[in-house]
Amino acid sequence: MSEVPVPHEAPPPASLLRQAFANRSFLTGFVITALIAAMALASFVWTPFDITHLIVADRMKAPSWQHPFGTDHFGRDILSMIMIGSRNSIAVAVVAVGIGMAVGVPLGCWAAARGGWVDEALMRFNDVVFAFPALLSAVMITAIFGPGAVNAIVAIGIFNVPVFARVARAGALSLWPREYVLAARAAGKGKVLITLEHILPNIASMLLVQGTIQFALGILAEAGLSYLGLGAQPPMPSWGRMLFDAQTRMMVAPYQAIFPGLAIVVTVLGLNLLGDGLRDVLDPRLRRER
């Protein structure tokens, strides 16, 4: 009776933000992600050079003050290409995570609320989707429906669905027997309403953390697909495509591969740190152990 541990307190939002920025991995991840996002946004209004304009005289230039990241074999500025390519990477990842959440979360919540054979059938179907290696199947899908940014998005999105379905279902299942959910049922609220009012807000933090991790995986997957020529098509630059173009000239112009590669690594690292930090901040159990 004495000293009952207080489960799952929601701290006031102001202190949550302060805590978040006191968390080192969250802060680092946040800064990196914000920089990448700013870079993508900036590319809409300004890039150092116009990448549709090929200047053959400037081809294969090593990094210099004029071209900090050098130029490629068509004389395009690599920094500008990375900036524009980030648009593509982020857009693909955002939409793919969006598809995963929009389909997966309702499915997971439905499975948890309905239970019985619906739950069983949905989750076994989930297992089947899970059983395919995501990138390989994405390659298959884009190979069948033709390469392109849209097909890449759909292919990556499909494999995000079971991830979110599982996380949502697990979270929802642990909430359904709670007394406040019982009280809501005694107040005559239906399953849909309870899911919207009580379940979703309480699993939102878990989904958010999973979201940042899937986002990083999405960027990787997009890079992989466009490396194979199955993602965004030229002249639209993309990080994976740039890597592919650079690999034959690795010996002569390593900077052509290094900078897009770094862009991928830094973005994924930033997002993973952000996800890690978010989990630490949002999960009260981990927070207390610190």
């Binding site: 009776m1 004495s2 000293e3 207080v6 007394e179 019982l182 809501a184």
Partner: protein, 541 residues
């Protein structure tokens, strides 16, 4: 020289003091009861003796155990002491055991670590001590896992771990609070026997004066980190010289003033009628293809409850009382039988058609921490049942209704803009009651509504229940294993055992003169302050 001596112990986090100059001592073979309400510093005192205080806490003062200065001892010396000369029993047997290790391993672990015994020797000792605490190896082999045992059996394992190496001092922090009264009596008996047999010192921490009155030779009463009173149990509790001791004793035997029970109406349909209700759960499969034998949680239960009546449903944990409550609340459907509320058979209705019936019944749960969505404000939480109204109130009407409900339970209207974690346990239980009465229901089902509360808070909440019963004419179905609660607040009582109602009648009659075995066991095991004191005084003369 006492076995354990604590002098002027202060513990603080930063500048906030937690303990302010605590003095206490325990002799060999003595039972010291440490009593106080939540936050009085009982557990912190115990943790200091084990040197297991949370990191940020600083302790000062003197703690001597068996000639060793505990506060100055190096960590390695403490490791040798813990579990060897000082054993500890925790409140929650569910979490005090490691779920992935067998009970044998867990008991033997400490023995091997402290004595360097071989696995076989340690297991032999483990077998002996488990046998001693009432888990003989023929029935409970060492290879059992904690989840295969009941709550009482798990607590026995915890005691076995604590006593395996014949400690000189045993610290038991609320060892029976998570158990029902019958198990509580068994565990207390076991502790008492072990103390007598081995001349251990026992520091028994409890919020329950009745438990301590029965067990302890001396008691120490704590409040806000200070010792209020220390003395021989019988004298301290009968004389009640200190005002706080008196307040605690009064609160634990508190009976709210109630108007007489309403005259039994004859001929009218009862408010709630439960007719031969049965609930089966799927049992465990014996093999993959065998059809699982169903487990009957509620077995042919029938009763009726009139308007404004207050009925207690008492029984041990696992007797099916909560399952019955869930079926009455239409949260679960019975396997057979009928439940009628105001003549309408609720168990046959679809969720949409249930609304008018749901409006007439609401629920108060046990756990004041778990019964609210931590992300909603009080206004939204209390207003939740308004969803059942035919005409949805406007935002302003809603606030008025919430304010009225909060006023009804003794909270201020401005409280509606706070989050639940800003309230204490007792206040949360008031919010829970406000939520239950906002639709002016005719029936409130309360599942152990006060068993998670301190005695003085419990007295206030019981008063509130009695008051609402008198003013609003709400009928109650009180589910409890605590007979003092049943006695304080109900007119009728039903005793449930293994899914059946084995005895029913007027509360005072049943509890004073129980007929069935189940009721007798409950009454006998229930801790009762006045009876414990009477026994104590009789024993001394």
């Amino acid at each position: 020289m006492s076995l354990l001596e604590i002098e002027k112990l202060t513990v603080s986090i930063g500048r906030t003091p937690i303990l302010k100059g605590v003095d206490l001592s325990i002799e060999e073979g003595e039972v010291l009861g440490l009593v106080g309400e939540s936050g009085s510093g009982k557990s912190m005192t115990a943790l200091t003796v084990m040197r297991l205080l949370p990191h940020a806490m600083r302790a000062a003062g003197r703690v001597t155990f068996d000639g060793i200065d505990i506060l100055a001892a190096p960590e390695a010396a403490m490791n040798r002491l813990r579990g060897d000369d000082i054993g500890m029993v925790f409140q929650e047997p569910m979490t005090a055991l490691n779920p992935v290790k067998t009970i044998g391993e867990q008991v033997a672990e400490g023995i091997r670590w402290h004595t360097g015994a071989s696995r076989a020797e340690a297991e032999e000792t483990a077998r002996k001590i488990l046998d001693r605490v009432g888990l003989p190896a023929q029935k409970f082999p060492l290879s059992r896992f904690p989840h295969e045992l009941s709550g009482g059996q798990r607590q026995r394992v915890v005691i076995a771990i604590a006593c395996a190496l014949k400690p000189k001092l045993l610290i038991a922090d609320e060892p029976t609070t998570a158990l029902d009264v019958v198990l509580q009596a068994q565990i207390l008996d076991l502790l008492r026997d072990l103390v007598d047999e081995r001349r251990m010192g026992l520091l028994l921490i409890s919020h329950d004066l009745a438990v301590v009155a029965d067990m302890a030779d001396r008691i120490t009463v704590m409040r806000h980190g200070e010792v209020m009173e220390t003395g021989e149990t019988g004298r301290t509790l009968t004389e009640q010289a200190h005002p706080y001791t008196r307040q605690l004793a009064r609160a634990s035997t508190h009976v709210p003033a109630r108007a007489g029970p309403p005259a039994p109406e004859t001929g009218k349909t009862p408010l709630l009628e439960v007719a031969s209700v049965v609930k089966d759960y799927a049992g465990r499969r014996a093999s993959l293809f065998a059809r699982p034998a169903p487990f009957r949680a509620v077995d042919d239960v029938s009763f009726a409850l009139g308007e404004g009546q207050s009925v207690a449903l008492v029984g041990r944990s696992g007797c099916g009382k909560s399952t019955l409550a869930r079926m009455i609340l239409a949260l679960d459907r019975p396997t057979g039988g009928a439940i009628r509320l105001d003549g309408i058979e609720v168990n046959a209705l679809a969720e949409a058609a249930l609304k008018p019936s749901r409006r007439k019944m609401q629920v108060v749960f046990q756990d004041p921490y778990g019964s609210f969505d931590p992300r909603h404000k009080v206004e939204r939480l209390v207003a939740e049942p308004l969803h059942l109204m035919e005409k949805q109130p406007s935002a302003a009407e809603r606030r008025d209704m919430v304010a009225a409900a909060l006023a009804e339970v003794g909270l201020a209207p401005k409280d509606m803009d706070k989050y639940p974690h800003e309230f204490s346990g007792g206040q949360r239980q008031r919010i829970s009651i406000a939520r239950a009465i906002i639709t002016r229901p005719k029936l409130v089902v309360a599942d152990e509504p006060v068993s998670a509360l301190d005695v003085s808070i419990r007295a206030q909440i019981l008063d509130l229940f009695a008051d609402l019963n008198g003013r609003l004419g709400v009928a109650y179905l009180f589910i409890t294993h605590d007979l003092t609660v049943a006695r304080a607040i109900t007119d009728q009582v039903m005793v449930m055992h293994d899914g059946r109602i084995v005895e029913r009648g007027r509360t005072a009659e049943v509890l004073d003169n129980p007929q069935s075995d189940a009721a007798k066991a409950l009454v006998e095991a229930a801790p009762d302050l006045s009876r414990a004191l009477a026994r104590r005084l009789a024993g001394r003369e």
